[in-house]
Symmetry: C2
Subunit: 327 residues, 2 copies
DNA sequence: CACCCCGAGGCAATGGGTTGCCACATTGTT
DNA sequence: AACAATGTGGCAACCCATTGCCTCGGGGTG
C-alpha cells in the first residue's frame, strides 16, 4: 500500500537504517560515496520519508494550522494565499480549517489538531480571550485581525486607516459619519468604531454607530434602512459585503449613491471593484498579513513569551464612485 | 512542550497503557468502573491522542488533501466549503493546498503529502493524464471539474448546462454564439466548447470559438475586442471572471450589454450578482460537488479500481440582466 | 470438589525514522 | 613500534498508540 521504508533502502544499499537516515539529514556524517549510493537507491525505489514517523520522535510536524472564522468571506482569500506562500518557502504544510463562524467549532478543531501541528494562525478568531490564552499555552499562536496582550498578532493599521476614511469624508463636506457595526464579539468591530470615533473627534465632526450587524450582504438591507432613518449622509460599513448590501437596498429605495449617501467599506474585496457604483473601501496588502503571520509563527521559538510582536501593516484607502460631496 | 501521553494517563490511573487505549477505542473490552476512572483521569490531565502515533501503526491518517489549481478564484470557495463540511462529519482533517496554477507545484505538493494523507481531491487539476494516473496508483484520488477514464470524478453536468445556455440564447433570437475559451490545458474548456457546439448544432444555430484566454478579469479586454471584431451578438465566456472583464471592456468601448451583446459566464460567483449589469451564468450546487468528492474518497476503499464512479450534478442557469433579445 | 469458561487486565511487539553511544579501521604522532 | 586522534558505520533505545496473545481469578457446571 504505502511506499518503501527506510528499511527497504537500507537493505538494498547494504547499510544500516541509521546510515540511510544520516545520508539525508546529516550529509557530512557519512562518506561521500556511501551517501551517493544511498541516494541513488532511494531515488530508484521512490523512497520518501514518512512525516508521521519523523514527527513522532522530533515533535516537529512541519505543519501550521490556519483557522478562519468564515471561509466564504472573500476577504480571507488573500490572507490564505499569503500564509500558504510563506509556509511553502519553508517547506511547511498549511492546514486550513474553517470555523463556520462558530466559536465552538473553532475551539474543537483547535483542540483536535493541537497535537499534530507546530502552531496556529487564527484569522479573526471569534474565541473569547481566555480561550485564546489557553491555546497559546499549548502551542505558539499568531493572531490575524485581532490583538490580545501577550500574543503575537498581525493587523492592518486601522487607526491610521480610519483617519484616512474620516479625512476623506470630511474633505467632501460631510459633518457626520455613521458606522454600521460588525458582530458583537468581533474585536475588529470594536477597534474600527473606536478609531472612527477618535478620528471624527479630531477633525471636529460627529460619529454615530448602528448595529451590530452580521457582516453579510443579506444584512445590508436592515443596515441601510437604519442609516436612512438616522438621516446619515455618509455611512461606513463594517466590511465590503455589508456595504454592498447597503448599496443594493439604497438603490431599491430610490436613493442615489453617492449623491444622497456616501458609502465606505473595509477589505477591498474583488466585488468592491465590480459593483455599481464602485465601492470606496479601506484595503491593504492582505497577502502580506498572511505572510507575516506565518513568518512570526515559524520564528516563534526564539522569542520569550512576554516578547510577542505586534505587527502593524499599512492600509490604503481605495477611492471609487461610492463616495462624493455631501448633499 | 507537548501534552500528556497515554503513559501519563496509565500511570495516574494505575493501569497499563493497553487498558487506557481500549477504554477509548473498545468500550466493551474493559469494565465499566475502570473505564470511568480512566476517562476521568484523562479528562483531568487534558489527554488527547497523538494522531501521528496512531497513523504510524494503522496507516490511516484521517486526513484528505484537497488541491486547488488557483485559490484566488472565488469559484473554489464553495467547493472547499463542501469538502470541508463532509470531511468534518467523518472527523477527517482537510488539508488545503494551492497549486498556484502551476502543474509543477501541484505535482511536488502531491508527492510531498502522499505518505501523510489518505487520499487526494484534485480540483480542476492542471496535471497531464499520465501524472494523474501515477498519483492514483499511490493513493485514492477523486477529480473535481475534470474527468479521466479509470478515476473517480465529480463534475457539474455541462452538457445539459450548455444546452440550457444555448436554448436561452436561441429563444432570445440569437443565431450565433461565440465561446471565449479557457486555458489550453484545461479539460473544462474543451468540455464546454464541445457541449456548446453540439447544443448549437442541435437547435440549428452556429457556434464559434476564440481563445484560449487565461480566465481572469484582466484578460477580458482582449477577449471582448476579439468578440466585437467577430461581430458576435452573444458571447459565452469560460468563467465569470473573464465575463466580467469582457463586460468592463464592452462598456468602455460604448457597447451596451445586453442590447448590443449578450454575455454569459460560468460558475455563478458572488461578483456575478453584484456587477452591473448582473451576469447571466451557469451555476450549480458547488458545495455539493465538494461534498460528493470527499464522500467518494472516504468510501474509495470498498470499490474496485475499474469501478470508479463518475458523479454528475445538475447545473442551474441563473438569468440576470446580461442577456437579452438579439439586436 | 475438579474442571471449564469467560471477563478483565497486562506484556510486548509493531510501525518508520532519529540519534546517542560504541566499535572498528585508518592515519598520524612521538 | 606503541598509542592517540579522526572518520565511518552499526546497534539499540526512543517517540506513542494499538493489538494479538497470555495470565489470573471468579463463577458456573457435572
Amino acid at each position: 500500500m504505502s511506499g518503501p521504508t527506510i528499511y527497504d533502502v537500507a537493505t538494498a544499499a547494504q547499510v544500516a537504517t541509521s546510515t540511510v537516515s544520516r545520508a539525508f539529514s546529516q550529509p557530512g556524517r557519512v562518506s561521500a560515496d556511501t551517501r551517493e549510493r544511498i541516494l541513488a537507491v532511494a531515488a530508484e525505489l521512490g523512497y520518501r520519508p514518512n512525516p508521521h514517523a519523523r514527527a513522532l520522535l522530533s515533535g516537529k510536524h512541519h505543519t501550521v494550522a490556519m483557522v478562519v472564522s468564515d471561509i466564504t468571506n472573500p476577504h480571507y482569500f488573500d490572507l490564505i494565499r499569503g500564509a500558504e506562500l510563506r509556509a511553502r518557502v519553508s517547506e511547511y504544510t498549511l492546514l486550513l480549517v474553517n470555523a463556520e463562524e462558530s466559536p465552538r467549532v473553532e475551539w474543537e478543531q483547535i483542540q483536535r489538531l493541537s497535537p499534530a501541528v507546530d502552531g496556529f494562525v487564527l484569522a479573526a478568531s471569534r474565541l473569547p480571550d481566555e480561550n485564546l490564552q489557553q491555546v497559546a499555552a499549548q502551542r505558539p499562536v499568531v493572531l490575524m485581525s485581532r490583538e490580545l496582550p501577550g500574543l503575537a498578532s498581525v493587523v492592518l493599521d486601522h487607526v491610521e486607516g480610519c483617519r484616512q476614511i474620516v479625512a476623506h469624508l470630511a474633505s467632501l463636506g460631510h459633518r457626520d459619519v455613521l458606522y454600521l457595526s460588525g458582530p458583537r464579539n468581533s474585536w475588529m468591530a470594536a477597534t474600527r468604531w473606536a478609531a472612527l470615533r477618535a478620528a471624527a473627534e479630531q477633525v471636529g465632526i460627529s460619529a454615530r454607530r448602528l448595529g451590530p450587524f452580521t457582516p453579510k450582504v443579506s444584512q445590508g438591507g436592515a443596515a441601510a434602512d437604519g442609516a436612512v432613518n438616522a438621516g446619515a449622509t455618509a455611512v461606513v460599513a463594517h466590511n465590503d459585503l455589508l456595504a454592498i448590501g447597503v448599496m443594493q437596498r439604497l438603490a431599491q429605495r430610490g436613493l442615489r449613491v453617492p449623491e444622497d449617501v456616501s458609502v465606505v467599506g473595509f477589505d477591498d474585496i474583488f466585488a468592491a471593484d465590480v459593483c455599481s457604483p464602485g465601492l470606496t473601501t479601506l484595503g491593504g496588502a492582505h497577502v502580506d498579513v498572511g505572510r507575516a503571520a506565518v513568518e512570526l509563527l515559524l520564528t516563534a521559538g526564539v522569542r520569550a513569551p512576554d516578547d510577542q510582536p505586534r505587527v502593524l501593516l499599512p492600509t490604503e484607502l481605495v477611492l471609487r464612485a461610492s463616495t462624493g460631496p455631501c448633499r
